[in-house]
């Protein structure tokens, strides 16, 4: 790392410490001196020093260890309320004045001292000749003073609130301090001796370079954040802005966005509108009439079975079916009515026509449009939710979108049907190659299946279409030819979304929805 990027990476605390050396780069400074000149808290200073040592900008010149004596909590307590030795001695003197006999138990209970404290104090006083132990476990003052008690008193006063170096005390006092210092196994002592390491620090060669460069950079204060205040008074000019490590990974955010599948459907929707299609909407609940009868599916048709369509529990039937459509459709089923057809030749059940089902095909929406005086020429589409009585698996959903619609016009015929499908192939699937295969749908004749060569998927079925049978259009009041078309887009959507299971189109996994890019 070169010097300037090294300096850029420095923390403001480090800069402060280095700057202290700027006046005299070869100076050797004690920690205390550094604390004074930087004005840093001890914890901040020691952090900065450790960082600089780790970066080899700073080096330790000398290290001296000083023993410092200070009062422990017990010591401070003794300072306030006297030590056990003082208290035992004073109790013995009081007893001598009044002539009372004083037992060890008396002292213990009167002074509220621990037995160990009392016996320790008595031992020391007896040794110094300040006490006598007489018969019956009584103690008696000799009237002599105790050096220890006096020495402790003196030390407590000297050390109260101000720790001092151990070496500053004369030998005798040092002995007392060491005797009464906290040691392992004996925490109840008035004094503590700590080893304090005093370092003399100096700059390394790199450190000198850094300090010199820092001083050349001037004394501009480094800030981390541009603030309104800095902008307001223009003081940003005198600041330096701490540089960021921009190679770090950015924090995650979850943006608001459309669902990838909906995005795909939106694109289809936009495409259809651009080709001149008007959107149709319908209801989720339909009558069998609009869902099937109007589409000339006979009431005995296998796809109308209880195993293919969901029936509504309650109410079971619609209140009515609009006339004249009911009668006209019924007639077309029975004998063709006026459509030029033989019809299906069975007794059409008008009750059954009112039976409510969940819409099973988008063509039901088109049937409504046919009966609602559509524009001629006209193009319509819907993206309708449909329901099938299917076991749900990777390729079957019970609840899915169907993209389908109609085209009405005097110029509609088999060839314009193929032309429209060509357009879909090109615009919706970006496919240049198409194949038209004969197909069967109950409501169209002729019927076509559109196969295209998709740029990614190869040959695939894109949709089905045909000319609505006159048995469908005439009873609903439409006299021009009508194309009915439907596109199967789920496979394309799944490829665009990179999924292999149709259930994932409606996934409940928020992580997956958030992370799917979708196609655009």
């Amino acid at each position: 790392m070169n010097i300037s990027s090294l300096i850029d990476s420095l923390h403001p605390l480090e800069v402060k410490v280095l700057s202290t050396f700027a006046a005299n780069p070869s100076a050797i400074l004690q920690t205390e001196q550094l604390a004074q000149s930087t004005g840093l808290e001890p914890s901040q200073l020691s952090m900065a020093v450790e960082w600089l040592l780790a970066k080899s900008l700073l080096a330790v010149d000398t290290e001296t260890v000083t023993s410092i004596v200070s009062l422990t909590k017990i010591g401070e307590l003794y300072f306030e309320k006297y030590s056990p030795i003082e208290r035992v001695l004073s109790a013995a003197r009081d007893a001598a004045k009044t002539g009372k006999r004083l037992t060890i138990q008396d002292i213990q209970s009167r002074e509220g001292l621990e037995p160990a404290e009392v016996s320790g104090a008595i031992g020391r006083l007896k040794k110094e000749g300040a006490l006598l132990i007489i018969q019956g476990g009584c103690i008696e003052s000799t009237g002599r003073s105790s050096q220890t008690a006096e020495a402790i008193r003196g030390l407590l006063q000297q050390l109260h609130g101000t720790p001092r170096g151990l070496q500053a005390f004369p030998e005798a006092q040092r002995q007392v301090i060491q005797d009464h210092a906290v040691k392992r196994g004996n925490a109840r002592e008035p004094f503590r001796i700590d080893d304090r390491v005093a370092r003399a620090l100096k700059l390394s060669v790199t450190g000198i370079e850094a300090a010199q460069q820092l001083s050349r950079q001037g004394t501009a204060e480094e800030v981390s954040q541009l603030t309104p205040e800095l902008l307001k008074d223009g003081s940003w000019r005198a600041k330096r802005f701490r540089k960021y490590t921009i190679s770090l990974r950015a924090p995650r955010i979850a943006p608001g966005k459309r669902h990838p599948y909906r995005e795909f459907l939106d694109a289809v929707k936009t495409k259809l509108v651009s080709m001149g299609f008007q959107e149709m909407r319908g209801a989720l609940v339909e009558t069998e009439f609009w869902n099937m009868d109007a589409l000339f599916m006979p009431q005995f048709h296998p796809a109308r079975d209880i195993h293919d369509v969901y029936f509504v529990k309650e109410p079971t039937h619609a209140s009515s079916i609009a006339e004249p459509y009911l009668s006209q459709v019924a007639q077309a089923h029975r004998n063709g009515g006026g459509t030029g057809s033989t019809g299906w030749n069975y007794p059409f059940d008008a009750e059954r026509a009112r039976r409510l089902v969940l819409r099973s095909q988008g063509t039901a929406v088109s049937a409504h449009t046919l009966a609602a005086q559509p524009a001629v020429p006209g193009k319509y589409f819907s993206i309708a939710r449909c329901f099938r009585y299917d076991q749900v698996d990777a390729t079957h959903a019970t609840d899915f979108f169907q993209v389908e619609g109609i085209v009405l016009g005097e110029d509609i015929n088999f060839r314009t049907l193929l032309g429209l499908l060509n357009l879909f192939a090109r615009e919706v699937a970006q496919a240049k190659e198409v194949k038209f295969l004969p197909a069967y749908f109950p409501f169209t004749e002729p019927s076509v299946e559109l196969h295209v060569r998709h740029p990614k998927l190869g040959w695939m079925e894109l949709g089905g279409a045909g000319l609505f049978r006159p048995e469908v259009t005439l009873p609903l009041g439409v006299t021009v030819p009508v194309i009915a078309w439907g596109l199967g887009l789920d496979r394309m959507a799944m490829v665009a979304l990179g999924i292999h299971d149709i259930r994932e189109l409606f996934t409940d996994n928020l992580d997956l929805i958030r992370s799917t890019r979708g196609a655009y």
């Binding site: 509108v273 969901y310 029936f311 939710r385 076991q391 509609i412 060839r415 038209f436 996994n509």
Partner: protein, 572 residues
Amino acid sequence: MPTITIFKQDLEGLLAAPGEAPQPITMEQLEESLMLVKGELKEQNSDTGELRIELQDSNRPDLWCCEGIARQIRVKRRGALAKYDFLTTRPKSPKQLNVAPGLEKVRPYVAACTATGYRVTQEGLAQLIQTQEKLAEMFGRKRRTVSIGLYRLAAIEFPVTYDLVKPDEVTFTPLGMDTVMTLGEMLLVHPKGLEFGGILAGHDHLPVLRDAKRQVLSFPPIINSREIGEVRVGDDALFIEVTGSDLSMVVLTLNIFAANLADRDAVIEPIEIRYPYKTALGMAIMTPQDLGKSRKLPVSTIEQALGQSLGAQEVAKALTAYGYEVMTKSKNVTVRLPFYRQDLMHAMDVVEDVAISRGYGDFLPVMPSQFTVGGLSRIEEVSDRARTLMVGMGFQEIISNILGSPKDLRDAMRLEGTEWGQLVEVDNVMSQNFSALRQWMLPSLLRVEAASNRAFYPHRIFEAGEVARHDLTQPLGSRTVTVLGGMIAHVDAHFSEAHSCLDTLFYYVSQTYSLEPIQHPSFLAGRVGSIVSEGKQIGVIGELHPEVLERWQISVPAVAFEVDLTELAERS
């Protein structure tokens, strides 16, 4: 749409004229030819020659077999259908099948013939059985309208009687069993009796076919006799009968079998059916019989529908090469379907056959030229606007199933017995998970929330979509409404957060609203409001009730709102 199994070598044999060598066909040619029959090759095994083919046209049962597919291809290759003599050359004293009185109320119609001179091969037998099953199942509506029986002719003495007997009056050994049983017992214990017995429900007399020696052929439409009604490889004389409830379908089915066996070089001998009651075809009917009717149509009708001038000759050529009988006269064609088809309902059916016979590739696509203006419905525009705003406010869109479970939609929302808990439910439930339409959006949002506690927070999700509101004042008993639902979930989710979003939304759709305190079991009391706009309640907002969160096993607070977009769309 049946899917059938055929064998390539069998097909190749059938593509040749009687007595000729088999006509090899490449897979490419086959796929091309399958367009003639709306067939799609699903699977193939090049070792065994086995082909799985799906036939699309549910009105063309004649194509649901190897013979039918081969016939359609053969006709196209030769340009016309070969003659089937048995339709015109009738025996002087035909074999007879007598129908007993009373059957008009049970299973009125029967058709039958014999086929001799074709020695049944392994493949031929498999095709016979497959055709019998597919026709009875799909065309015959699970034997209700049509069922078929095949027998060894040698064991039968004519005349045969189609009789009506009491359930315990007749006994025989049915196929698949080794003991003699009464008809009543078969209905109770035989697998076919259990499967198809419902067709005869309510009748105290049951149909039975017996020959002159009173031996039972079968108990239609349930089961054949084990002795006579089991055709084996090597048999070269067959008796075929079809019974059912629809005369023309019964005759058509027999016609198909007669054509199929004739195509395998069998000699078909018609049988005279004698009814004690009137039928649409009289009281004595020779079967097989061509029921086709001629139909005259202007060539211009066909040309108009196809968008192509062809001329009467080209039309006639195409239809003849598809099996039709055609006569042309100036600007009209008179057409008649071959005897194995009955699917001509409208002139448009002829149009499609012309197109298929010529090949769809023969028609040059033309763009519809008339100008139309595209556009979205008002509700979609409003919905898109709301979605854009929600995305702008940092919400992730989701999409859910509309079909859900009452447990999620109502019970887990604490809405049992409330007006909010009324559902459009499914009658024929397959799975409780898909048995009711969602009546509001919040359960859809909770579904995602419940599954996503590992996705980093905060969660802001929305869906705009359809729901069904149960409403008996409506003609359909319900209304489909498009709503917007939004939900915020994280440790500090708060009412005001959702309120701000709602407020912003209303501002940008240029509508005003106010919140009125309500009681709603899905939300915490005192932290829920009805969204009222122009005096109408058009939504709800609130902090979700802890018990709701508990039931969905959601461990952070959630606040949500829902707005009726249909109501907003209808205003502007």
